[in-house]
Structure formats: structure tokens, C-alpha cells
């Protein structure tokens, strides 16, 4: 590292308060960052910590910043407790748990003044700064009486910090105990060892670590009846309750756990009374085959889906164009990660918006859904199938790593009340009545033709599906007028999707000059940023959260109502803003301003607030 410790100190000195004074307590409003090595069992400890706070009624969010590695590389987990219910990543770290020798020094040097540090004693980082509250803990010594197994001790050290924090922050040990029980269901021995480690930490802190930092937890009642779940599991539940029957996949972070969860749920809940599966889940040889199988299955009448991420989406491009042009329903979950190329494979981004909207060559356009929450992963997981079958086209659900792989608090999901909608499919009886049909004829004026499923027992049921130019009867054609007419119908169909995709969520009084547009997980930072802008800068904002593309009419109306519209997103090039520019009436285009963040970490409110305030000249 080129920067020396002295440099950092000098730089920090300008910004920070002098040596930490006793401050008034900061209750239920802080962030904890735990720095460990990948594969050291810290995920369990962090989940226990998160859950204990949740069970005390305090709104929490947890974010795992992990490397592309099985074991050994540094990993960080951030937990935010927020009495105001803000779930976005907090930029500032208030409490650091330093367990990883590789990063301890850098982690400590990067803290704002006044932070608290719990560190593994041998790391010796206590003397690096005099503006922090440091607690040295001999973790190895604490867990050595529990087991003689060195491997196990390494894991238990991580549970011991949970106990230390419980004591320092005043987290009820009964809740820690409950969370440990939940973390190791049916594993009494593991639960016992972990509990012993947590208690050892707690007792040590009680005895040896007088409280010197201001951070504290008090019981609240803000999480009653709420659930904690990750977005990929929620998406899997959406797929299951959406009636998915054929699911294909190729493992890729961060989408793998979506299908892995789904396999678990389907085995439990989608095996019929005869013991037969009502689903087929296939691990394909690559993403090309995964999407090919989905298209074959969708064509034959299954509710078919796959889940992937950046590189996988790129591989699916050719098939996406086929499904668009041959008009085959398909659902694709794109759990976005950082590109270009392999990029940062374990970090979050919203970088595939533009490329997915037009995925494939030629004039291809797709329907996109943008879930912001685990509840929407569930509801859009259901809705995507209805849309794909009604519109006879691929539907891409644009999740991201932050949403998919992190735990989120949510209201329990609402059971899908509306019956499954399978779109325009002609049965044998319909064909008896009609005598025949033309696959691509726009008989209803909405651009969507009627289809038949292979196997329909009627001599007029068959048609020839192809990616080549075709007429209304699905017969090969290179005629200019036929091709033009077909492309115009497809455009009409996609235009009609504006009225079918989920409507945007609009907030604000309607009188603000400044508008904000965001989507997906950026939502959580924007919610907080709007409060900061109002409170700290007197900037009132209107807010529109995009939930579907092609854009419903409300999007244009929102831009019309605001002089300046900041489009906040987690990519470099302002991809949603670009997509909006293609769609908006020309005089409105100049109103858009991009606020872009692309560093792999979930965007935080402070960064958005600072940038908008500066550009608003406040």
C-alpha cells in the first residue's frame, strides 16, 4: 500500500472530532461491520446477530460483502440497526469487529472518529488510532475451554464476538440463544457449542470490558409479524406459487441460490399425492442450453424459467431474440452482478438494464420487471409467468446480488389471489369450432396471436415455429411487406405491455420541482436520501420507482411534473436514464440527470444526498 499510516492519520485528523468524549447514547441507530476470513463460519454468527436484533423489535438489514473464493480471502458483513426503518447500506461504520489479520489495519484506519472496535487481541490494532473506542478480546483463550478441536475453535471464535457485542450493545442474551437455536435446527451439539462460545464472549465482556462507546440497543416493536428472507428464496417461492413446471439453470453467482432454494421448496411442496413430481428442474450444461430448454418448454406449454447473471445473460442473447421473434413465453431471472465481463462476480450492480432490454440482434425488445424488495421478488415471481404467457414473449426479472443474496425484513408474502393466467391458447374444441387458425394473426388488435400447444389432437393444430421471417400462418416468407407487417405487430405488442407491467410507485406531494427516479434495490437508499435532502437541505422531492418496462404512461407524466429529474442507479452509464431518453417526448429528455454509483457495494443514501444537493447548488 502506497498510503502510510501517518498519511491516513493526517488525512483523518482534519475531518474528525478530537479524542472520543463520552457521548450521549446512540440507540438503535448504528451499523456494525464484521471483518473475517471467508469460510470461517462468520455467516452463521452474523445471521445470529441480525436475528437477535430483529427479535428485539429493531429494524435491521444485513449485507454480505464476500469475495469470489471458497475460503481464506477477506469478507465483511454489515448489519444496520435503524429505529427509522432505513434498510439501505449505511456509509459510515459505527462498530467494527476486526477478526481478519489481513484487513484489520486497513479496516481500522478507514473508520470515522468515535467508532467502536472489537478486535482479536493478537491483531494489536488498539493503538493505531486514539479517536476510537477499542476493545481487545482474547478470543482464542475464550473458546479454548469449549473444545480441543482447533478447526472448531476457529468457528467458535466467531460466535464469541456475538456474545461480546451482546454485552456491549445490550442485546438480550435470551434472543441470542433463540437465534442460535434457529440457526442450527436439529443440531443440538452444534447449537450447544455455539451457545457456549457466545456466553464466553458475553461473560468476558461483562467482566473485562467496561462500556465506553455510545451505541446501544433497546427493545422496540417494529418487527412484530415480519419475516426475514433473502431475495433469491423469495423469488423461488414466487416461482413455486406461480406454477413453474420446468426450471433450468447453470450455476452462476449470485443466481445459483435462487434455483437451489427452489429445488428444496419444490421437493417439499410440489410432489403430488401419487408421489410424482409436478416439476422438472434441470441443471443444464451451460446458459445457452438453459435458455434453450426454457424456450422449448414454454413453446410446449410449460411455465418455464431460468435464473442467471451477467455472463449468463450475454450467452442467452441469441435465444432471447428467437423467443421474442417466434413469440415464446419464458421467464428469466437476472440476478445482476458487476460487469463488464466477469467483473466483480460477488458484488452487486444494476448494470444489465440496457443490454437486457434489447437483448439479441435486430430490433429486439423485452419486458423487464424490477423488484425492489423480497416481497416483490415473490409477487413478480408469480406475475412474470402470467405476463410471459399473456404476451407470449420472454420476461426478464431484474434482481441483483444485494436483493438476491442478502437477508431482508419484510411483511409476510400475500398469497396470490388471482388465478393463473395462461394467455391465448386454442384447445382442440376451439379448433373444432374455428376450423383452423393463423398463429401470428392479430385477431384481437393487441398484437398477440393465438397459439396451440404441440400434442393438441386436431389436424389443424400444428404450426411451424421459426426464427426466420414468417407470415401470419407461420410459413417462411422473405416478402418485404410481410416482414414489415410482422415487425410492426411485434412493436404494437410490446407497446401494449406498458399497460400490463407493474405500475410504478409514485411518492411525494406532486408540487416538488425535483424528481427522483430509481428502481430495484436503489430504492432503499433513495427513501433515506429523500429524508436527508428534505431535513438537511430543504430540498423536497417527488419520487417514482420504476417497476416495469416498457414504461407505463405514469413515467412520462412524472417527468412532466418535475423540472429536474435525477435518475439514481447502480451502474456507470446511467442505463435506466438512457432507456428513459429513448422513450420520453423530446422536450422532457433534457430534464433527466444521472446519479450513478458503481463500486460493487450497495449504494448508500449519503452519497446520493451529497450529489443531488451539490447539483441543486445547496
Amino acid at each position: 500500500m502506497a498510503t502510510t499510516e501517518a498519511d491516513v492519520r493526517k488525512e483523518l485528523a482534519g475531518k474528525m472530532e478530537p479524542r472520543a468524549e463520552p457521548r450521549k447514547p446512540v440507540v438503535n441507530d448504528f451499523s456494525i461491520q464484521v471483518a473475517t476470513a471467508n469460510g470461517s463460519g462468520s455467516q452463521s454468527s452474523n445471521t445470529v446477530l441480525l436475528r437477535a436484533l430483529f427479535q428485539m423489535g429493531v429494524p435491521v438489514s444485513g449485507k454480505n460483502l464476500f469475495p469470489s473464493n471458497i475460503a481464506g480471502l477477506p469478507t465483511w458483513y454489515t448489519i444496520r440497526a435503524s429505529k427509522d426503518g432505513y434498510l439501505a447500506r449505511k456509509k459510515e461504520i459505527d462498530v467494527l469487529v476486526a477478526m481478519n489479520p489481513e484487513t484489520a489495519r486497513e479496516d481500522v484506519m478507514g473508520l470515522p472518529a468515535g467508532s467502536a472496535v472489537v478486535f482479536d487481541e493478537p491483531l494489536g490494532v488498539g493503538a493505531l488510532r486514539d479517536d476510537l473506542v477499542c476493545y481487545a478480546v482474547p478470543f482464542e483463550k475464550l473458546v479454548s475451554p469449549i473444545t480441543s478441536d482447533a478447526k472448531l475453535r476457529r468457528l467458535l471464535k466467531n460466535m464469541a464476538y456475538v456474545g461480546v457485542l451482546a454485552r456491549l450493545l445490550d442485546i438480550d442474551m435470551a434472543e441470542v440463544e433463540g437465534a442460535i437455536g434457529k440457526q442450527f435446527p436439529g443440531k443440538a451439539k452444534a447449537a450447544g457449542l455455539n451457545l457456549a462460545a457466545a456466553r464466553a464472549g458475553f461473560d468476558h465482556a461483562a467482566k473485562a470490558l467496561p462500556k465506553r462507546d455510545p451505541f446501544a440497543v433497546r427493545r422496540m416493536d417494529a418487527t412484530a409479524g415480519k419475516i426475514i428472507i433473502d431475495g433469491n428464496s423469495a423469488a423461488a417461492l414466487g416461482a413455486m406459487f406461480g406454477g413453474a413446471t420446468v426450471v433450468t439453470w447453470y450455476p452462476i453467482t449470485p443466481s445459483s441460490s435462487l434455483v437451489e432454494s427452489l429445488i428444496g421448496y419444490m421437493k417439499r411442496h410440489r410432489v403430488g399425492p401419487d408421489g410424482k413430481a409436478t416439476f422438472a428442474i434441470v441443471q443444464a450444461e451451460d446458459e445457452l442450453a438453459a435458455i434453450g430448454m426454457v424456450i422449448g418448454a414454454g413453446w410446449a406449454g410449460a411455465r418455464a424459467m431460468t435464473a442467471t447473471s451477467g455472463p449468463g445473460i450475454s450467452l442467452m442473447a441469441e435465444f432471447a431474440g428467437l423467443a421474442y421473434f417466434a413469440e415464446v413465453p419464458a421467464v428469466v431471472w437476472n440476478v445482476q452482478r458487476v460487469g463488464p465481463s466477469t467483473g466483480l462476480p460477488t458484488r452487486t450492480a444494476q448494470g444489465d438494464v440496457l443490454s437486457t432490454a434489447t437483448l439479441s440482434h435486430g430490433d429486439t425488445r423485452h419486458v423487464l420487471l424490477f423488484p425492489s424488495s423480497v416481497a416483490e421478488c415473490f409477487s413478480m415471481g408469480v406475475e412474470a409467468f402470467d405476463l410471459a404467457e399473456e404476451l407470449q414473449t420472454p420476461v426478464f426479472v431484474m434482481s441483483d446480488l444485494d436483493l438476491g443474496m442478502n437477508n431482508w425484513m419484510s411483511e409476510p408474502f400475500a398469497y396470490p389471489e388471482a388465478p393463473i393466467r395462461r394467455g391465448k391458447v386454442l384447445s382442440r374444441e376451439d379448433l373444432d369450432r374455428l376450423g383452423g387458425f393463423a398463429r401470428y394473426a392479430d385477431v384481437d388488435g393487441d398484437g398477440v396471436g393465438w397459439r396451440t400447444l404441440p400434442g393438441t389432437d386436431h389436424p389443424a393444430a400444428a404450426y411451424f415455429t421459426r426464427g426466420t421471417g414468417h407470415d401470419e400462418q407461420a410459413v417462411y416468407s422473405e416478402r418485404a411487406d410481410v416482414f414489415e407487417r410482422n415487425m410492426a405487430r411485434l412493436a404494437r405488442k410490446l407497446d401494449g405491455a406498458r399497460a400490463r407491467v407493474p405500475r410504478p410507485e409514485v411518492q411525494g406531494s406532486g408540487t416538488a420541482e425535483v424528481g427522483i427516479v430509481a428502481y430495484g434495490t436503489t430504492h432503499w437508499a433513495v427513501v433515506e436520501s429523500r429524508d436527508q435532502l428534505s431535513r438537511e437541505h430543504g430540498i423536497e422531492t417527488g419520487y417514482l420507482r420504476v417497476r416495469g418496462y416498457p414504461f407505463p404512461a405514469e413515467v412520462q407524466e412524472f417527468v412532466k411534473r418535475h423540472e429536474r429529474v435525477y435518475v439514481v442507479e447502480q451502474n456507470r452509464d446511467g442505463q435506466m436514464a438512457q432507456l428513459l431518453k429513448l422513450d420520453l417526448a423530446e422536450p422532457l429528455v433534457a430534464r433527466l440527470r444521472s446519479v450513478c454509483h458503481i463500486h460493487g457495494l450497495p449504494v448508500d443514501a449519503r452519497s446520493i444526498t451529497d450529489e443531488i444537493a451539490e447539483r441543486e447548488d445547496r
Binding site: 410424482k276 445457452l288 418448454a297 400444428a462
Partner: protein, 360 residues
């Protein structure tokens, strides 16, 4: 060449009806006309047209309802051909080299379909080798036909990956890379019915197609199908002339469908009788001593030997009529996934409530 009947190249134009069958109906009461397709747009004399005719005949004679058949193809001359037979069957002309995945998805959605894939040597062995390999591995119930002429037709005569070393293009370009033997590959990977035939050998190809239709599992047939425009000249190893001189049948293939009485007894000393999954019989009258078509190792050994000797070995190299298919592994019910009712695919309100409780 002993014991085989080789018919001349197919006549140009649309597939004709099997001789003498025009006015007849098959066991499900359909006429040959009910199996016809559009007029071919391939070159006159193209081997693919003859294969289309043989497929049409086989489906007709087997009494397969055309509405139950789903045709799949990729891109290329071969992949156009499903349009030229069985218009009453659904068909999916997919993307280049990736038909196997589309077919796989469709079969998973509806395992009641009779799936027929038609591909070419480029579509299978060059761009499509990845998906081909995994299709063979899964042993999904499907008949996969490669119309193999060793060249790309639609792009005007470049070599494909099945072209033999030393094979010469009309332009004089000589192929220097060894060919991929799709049959050896299929045997090794797990296909359970593997054979090679010749578009000009009507009798052998018909019997093999019918047996393949009766097979439950992946049946892979590599059919040498000369390209009259780009690869039928002196120096080509996939020409009509070359096949006439080098076609080396392993055995005489005959087929007795399940719905027909077995009229002719066979001599176990000279003939292997294979009872297919549907109760039909495939008979392989040995032309060679002791060839056992249920022995994978022997199949690979014999194929390698034929390559070394420059023979174009044809016949059924390997068959396993009882191996479990991919569908067996998935443990699906009788009713196709595609048409399961809502109550079968959407768990109850109570199930969601319980799952939510687990996450409280």
C-alpha cells in the same frame, strides 16, 4: 456390399408416397397424404429429400399420429427439411447447433410427444457439439437424425467437422483435420440406440428409422446424405459414388412392429433379435461373425477399426432398449407438466403460511 439393397439417389422434388401405399390407410386410419409436408426447396437429388421420405414412410407405417409428433431442427439445409414432411405435426426450427436444448425443454413439458430432431453435420458436430453431447448423455426419449454430408450447403460448401481427412472440396481445398464420429461419440456418451445409414439405402434406413421410433431413449442415427451441389464429386468421401463403393453394412436390419404378428422365425445363430420397449422386434441378421449390438466396447472397437480401414460402416452399432431415460430420473407423472391444472402447480394458502412462519 453383400446382402444390402442400395437404391439410387432420390428423385428431385417433394417426397413421394411409399410405393403402393397411396390409397391405403395405416393402422390409425390415416392416408400417406396426411403425413405430407410442403414442397421441398432443397436441391434436386439432395440426400436429405430421400431421408424426409423415409421418415414420412416410417411414421406412416408405424401409425404414429402426426399430431403427437414434434419436429425439431437447428439451422442449415438439413434443418429446413422438417417443413417438407408432416405438416400436421408441430415443428420448431431453432437456432444453429442448439436444437437439442429446445427439444429437451419441450419433452420435459410434454413427455407424451414423439420427438424427432433433424440436424446436419455442421449443426451437430461443429457448432452444436456441446448440446449434442449432453443430449446423448441424458438419454431423453427422442429420435435424433443427422443428415450428414460433410459440408455446409447454405453458406456454399465449407467443410464441417465430420469431413474425412483428405476429402477434397470442388475448389480443391483438402480437409486436414480428423472427422468427429458422431456414432462413436453417441455410444460413449450414453445414447441407447446408435446407428449409421445411407440416404440411398431405402431398406436399411426405413428399418432403422422404425426401430428408432419404437425405441424409448435417445436414438441417434447418422445418415450419410450426399450434397449434390458441393460434395458429390471425385475426391469426396460423402458422395453417392463413394458410398456405393465403401458402404459396409454390419448386418441386415429388419423390423417387426408390435402391432404386427411375427410371421417369420429367425435363426439365433445368424440373427440377433432385439425386443424393443414397445414390444416390437428389431432383427439384425449378422453379416459378420459374433457382432453383439448390446456391447458398447465392441461397438467402439468396430467403429475405430472401420475408420482405420476406410470403410463406411452402416447398421445399428449399439442398442439398449431397457436403460432408464432422463424422464425416469425426474419421476414425472402421467399427465404432461404443460397441462397440469392450477391446483397441481400452486400450493395452498396453508403451505405459504407455514413457510412464512418458518421465516418469522
Amino acid at each position: 456390399m453383400a446382402g444390402t439393397t442400395t437404391t439410387p439417389p432420390a428423385a428431385p422434388g417433394a417426397p413421394s408416397a411409399p410405393s403402393g401405399a397411396v390409397s391405403k390407410t395405416n393402422r390409425i386410419g390415416l392416408a400417406v397424404l396426411d403425413y405430407k409436408g410442403l414442397k421441398t426447396t432443397l436441391c434436386a437429388g439432395c440426400g436429405h429429400n430421400a431421408i424426409s421420405e423415409r421418415i414420412l414412410d416410417a411414421m406412416f407405417e408405424m401409425g404414429v399420429p402426426p399430431e403427437r409428433v414434434a419436429k425439431f431442427s437447428g439451422i442449415g439445409c438439413s434443418s429446413k427439411s422438417p417443413a417438407y414432411f408432416m405438416s400436421r405435426s408441430h415443428s420448431f426450427n431453432a437456432v444453429h447447433g442448439r436444437m437439442p436444448s429446445v427439444a429437451t425443454g419441450a419433452i420435459l413439458a410434454n413427455h407424451g410427444l414423439v420427438a424427432l430432431g433433424v440436424s446436419g453435420d455442421g449443426d451437430t458436430a461443429s457448432i452444436g457439439i456441446g448440446q449434442f453431447v449432453h443430449l446423448m448423455r441424458r438419454n431423453l426419449p427422442m429420435l435424433y437424425v443427422i443428415e450428414d454430408n460433410g459440408v455446409y450447403g447454405l453458406t456454399k460448401g465449407q467443410f464441417s467437422a465430420t469431413a474425412d481427412v483428405g476429402s477434397k472440396l470442388k475448389t480443391g481445398v483438402v480437409n486436414e483435420l480428423p472427422p468427429i464420429d458422431t456414432c462413436a461419440l453417441a455410444v460413449q456418451l450414453g445414447a441407447t440406440f446408435v446407428g449409421r445409414s445411407f440416404s440411398g439405402d431405402k431398406k436399411q434406413l426405413s428399418a432403422m428409422l422404425k426401430a428408432a421410433i419404437a425405441h424409448r431413449g435417445t436414438a441417434m442415427l447418422d445418415v450419410i446424405s450426399p450434397c449434390v451441389t458441393f460434395n458429390d464429386h471425385e475426391g469426396s468421401t460423402k458422395s453417392y459414388g463413394y458410398m456405393k463403393d465403401h458402404d459396409e453394412p454390419l448386418h441386415e436390419v429388419s423390423f417387426i412392429p408390435a402391432f404386427e404378428e411375427i410371421a417369420v422365425e429367425y435363426d439365433p445363430g445368424t440373427t440377433v433379435d432385439v425386443r424393443m420397449h414397445d414390444g416390437s422386434h428389431m432383427r439384425l441378421r449378422k453379416l459378420e461373425e459374433s457382432y453383439d449390438p448390446t456391447d458398447k466396447v465392441e461397438a467402439l472397437h468396430r467403429l475405430a477399426g472401420a475408420h482405420a480401414k476406410g470403410e463406411m460402416l452402416t447398421g445399428v452399432f449399439y442398442v439398449n432398449p431397457t436403460a432408464p431415460t432422463f424422464l425416469d430420473l425426474l419421476d414425472l407423472g402421467e399427465r404432461p407438466l404443460a397441462t397440469l391444472p392450477e391446483e397441481a402447480v400452486r400450493p395452498s394458502r396453508e403451505v405459504l403460511r407455514r413457510i412464512m412462519d418458518e421465516h418469522l
